[in-house]
């Protein structure tokens, strides 16, 4: 990022961190966690211990980081090197990102930015229409459809956690990630000891990965209707039954069809169920028991929006509630071919023009690489 842009964003972040101490707290068991941060145009600083809110606020004011992270793991010695930390446990975390959902709306809010001449294109082309370069940065701007589809994944995840895995509602915290998705943190003592492999199997359960027909009563031969799952069953067997039969009255007919169609056809049905009912989380995040994860309350430098907790997920609007930077006007050179919506106001499209925008919108464009400080 060019120096002028970095300075503008840094000053907006500093103002936020100074004014909104109320939103930024260390998580529980802070002294046992590893903290890390990044500054603009600089590498990652890790293995830090931050004992309380005061120390955190001091760091934020002193360093004005572009991004701040905190481990999901608890250690005896969080400030030592990875091999010496002495891992004690870790919260169960999930990352739901709209870009992993591959929604049809994505093409409407994705911008291809030429690496050589900065030309912006809305539709994918194999080479830049201006300079012929074939290298592009792909930038996605906020989209309400992406957010509402991601929310559906969060709801599915919370349902599995509470009904199948016996996690209490109050042990689940849902956060807007600060860009295009949601982070879910589970603090349940039963699960915090699980290692990476165990979490990988747990995430496969949540995603409905690796299900075999035998587990749902379909063998390669000699199938009987009694072994198929029923409507009332709990867990995935019940979910699969409700999906396949759609209603109790249809169950006998569908059962006959399933048994006649056989093993391979059922396998195809399970694949379809995985696509529609499995929760689309990023498995790498859940499996990682040493990850430093974006700190709640901090700003995401990919957008200038904050990672904040969603108390009421259904009504949550990240482009209103997580857009917390100042609103005094700033002039920037904006080059944003798609209209964006923040705080219920529309901005753009702009074609390489100097515009005066509220700070939150100016910073959003700079963070997305769709504008430059003047």
């Amino acid at each position: 990022m060019n120096e002028k842009n970095a300075l503008l964003i840094e000053s907006a972040f500093k103002e936020y961190y100074f004014n909104r101490f109320d939103l930024i707290h260390v998580p529980q068991k802070a002294t046992e966690r590893e903290f890390g941060y990044q500054k603009f145009n600089s590498g990652m600083t890790r293995h830090l211990v931050i004992k309380n809110d005061k120390e955190l606020h001091l760091l934020l004011m002193r360093e004005v980081p572009s991004d701040v992270y905190c481990s999901n793991a608890y250690y005896s010695f969080p400030n030592l090197s990875m091999s010496e930390k002495d891992w004690k446990g870790a919260d169960l975390i999930f990352d739901i990102d709209a870009k992993d959902l591959a929604l049809p709306c994505r093409k409407d809010h994705t911008i291809f930015k030429c690496n050589s001449c900065n030309n912006h294109m809305i539709e994918f082309q194999s080479q830049c229409s201006k300079c012929g370069s074939t290298k592009f940065d792909i930038v996605s701007v906020g989209c309400m459809n992406c957010i509402s589809e991601s929310k559906k994944e969060v709801t599915k995840l919370v349902d599995i956690l509470t009904t199948d895995l016996n996690v209490k509602k109050e042990q689940i915290e849902v956060y807007f990630s600060g860009n295009e998705g949601f982070h879910v943190r589970v603090t349940n003592a039963d699960y915090e000891q699980l290692g990476s492999q165990e979490r990988a199997d747990l995430v496969d359960y949540i995603m409905f990965n690796g299900a075999i027909p035998e587990s749902f009563g379909i063998k390669r031969q000699n199938n009987s209707k009694t072994s198929l799952p029923t409507f009332e069953e709990k867990g995935w067997r019940g979910r699969v039954a409700r999906k396949l039969f759609s209603s109790k009255s249809k169950a006998p007919k569908v059962t006959r069809e399933i048994i006649t169609s056989g093993y391979s056809a059922f396998q195809v049905q399970l694949e379809e169920i995985k696509r529609t009912m499995g929760v689309r989380v990023d498995p790498k995040v859940t499996m990682d028991i040493h990850r430093i994860f974006r700190l709640e309350g901090s700003i995401n430098s990919k957008s200038g929006l904050s990672k904040i907790q969603c108390i009421n997920l259904d009504s949550f609007d990240p482009f209103l509630e997580a857009c917390l930077l100042g609103d005094d006007d700033i002039d920037i050179m904006a080059d944003c071919p798609i209209q964006i919506r923040l705080k219920n106001k529309k901005f753009g499209p702009f074609n390489n023009e100097i515009v005066s925008l509220p700070k939150y919108a100016a910073v959003y464009m700079l963070c997305k690489g769709l504008g430059n400080a003047t």
Partner: protein
């Protein structure tokens, strides 16, 4: 309080209660040296010989005197500790755990209807800190307890997604419940034997101890370790050489690594000869499967360093720097 009888101890002679039972009989080690007790020493010796050949020692609990079952187990431990041969101890632990597994499964199954599950469930709870309870026809354990054990199995049916799960519990049959704790049962019995101290033994035991030393020679073929092997592979070979049990993932590493280095199934199979559960036919069949020459035809690749680290099978040394798979070990080293 749960009453554990002589018959229970014959089935599960490794329980702490066994020592107490023996104390109550007033029998001492010196007394066991008396010629009258020689049949017990012979029975104990036979128990070890059966175990060392990879078989499970069978007891007829209905026909036999239950005390001799318990005593022969305890004398077997004394003989094994006196001989001090790790291979024999491992083989004995493995065979005894399979034997106990069989009884545990029966007890869970038979007492299920009578709701008299106290003993088998207590054994599982006390020994492995796993709380198993019963729900209608099934046994249930908490999801995290299940995951910590089931991840070591590679069959798809053990994946959580293929189990019945509800309210944080996994539903299992008696057989599956016992299968889940198999490895721990072996470890437990082995740990018990390791913790026993034998100062002196009666004269009448000595002959059989010498026989055990002679028996162990059969298993002590040495295997050549090339200096080019990475430390993880060396570790696996060493474990097998000692006659200790190498987990499935470790055996898989050895097989895939050596196959990738151009060794044949026939060349690799003898390496596993010292494993406590060695069976030539099974080993060759499994090696052929891994090599892709039988079964689905998939040739399995050597697991990555990352995977080995997560399985605690990585023993990295500075020479491992910059490699992501054990097969790169030699090559990288030559470049340096």
């Amino acid at each position: 309080m749960l009453k554990i009888g002589a018959k229970d101890l014959a089935k599960y002679p490794f329980l702490t209660e066994a020592g107490e039972y023996l104390r109550n009989t007033g029998l001492s080690l010196e007394q066991l040296g008396d010629p009258d007790w020689q049949p017990i020493v012979e029975k104990a010796y036979g128990r070890i010989v059966v175990a060392s050949s990879g078989q499970i020692y069978g007891s007829d609990l209905e026909a036999l005197d239950n005390d001799s079952e318990l005593l022969s187990f305890l004398v077997a431990i004394i003989l094994l500790k006196s001989a001090g041969i790790a291979t024999l101890i491992r083989r004995f632990s493995l065979a005894e755990s399979r034997r106990a597994e069989k009884y545990l499964q029966q007890d869970l199954w038979i007492s299920r209807d009578k709701k008299n599950l106290e003993l088998p469930l207590k054994i599982i709870q006390d020994l492995f800190a796993v709380n198993v309870s019963i729900d209608n026809e099934d046994f249930v354990i908490k999801v995290p307890d299940y995951l910590q054990r089931a991840v070591h199995f590679h069959e798809k049916e053990w994946k959580l997604v293929n189990r019945r799960v509800a309210n944080g519990l996994v539903y299992l049959s008696a057989h599956e419940t016992v299968r889940l704790i198999r490895a721990e049962l072996g470890e437990y019995i082995n740990g018990k034997i390791q913790s026993v101290n034998v100062d002196s033994i009666p004269q009448s035991f000595r002959h059989r101890v010498e026989d055990l030393v002679a028996l162990a020679k059969k298993f002590s073929d040495t295997t050549y370790v090339s200096s080019e092997y990475p430390p993880c592979v060396k570790h696996g070979i060493e474990v097998l050489e000692k006659g200790e049990n190498l987990p499935h993932s470790g055996r898989f590493l050895l097989a895939t690594y050596l196959l990738s280095k151009g060794q044949t199934v026939d060349q690799i199979a003898p390496l596993f000869k010292n494993a406590p559960d060695y069976n030539e036919r099974t080993t060759k069949y499994q090696l052929a499967h891994i090599s892709g020459s039988s079964g689905s035809g998939t040739k399995y690749q050597c697991p990555s360093c990352e995977k080995l680290r997560s399985e605690s099978l990585c023993f990295a040394i500075p020479d491992c720097d910059g490699i992501i798979n054990p097969v790169q070990f030699g090559k990288k080293r030559k470049i340096q």
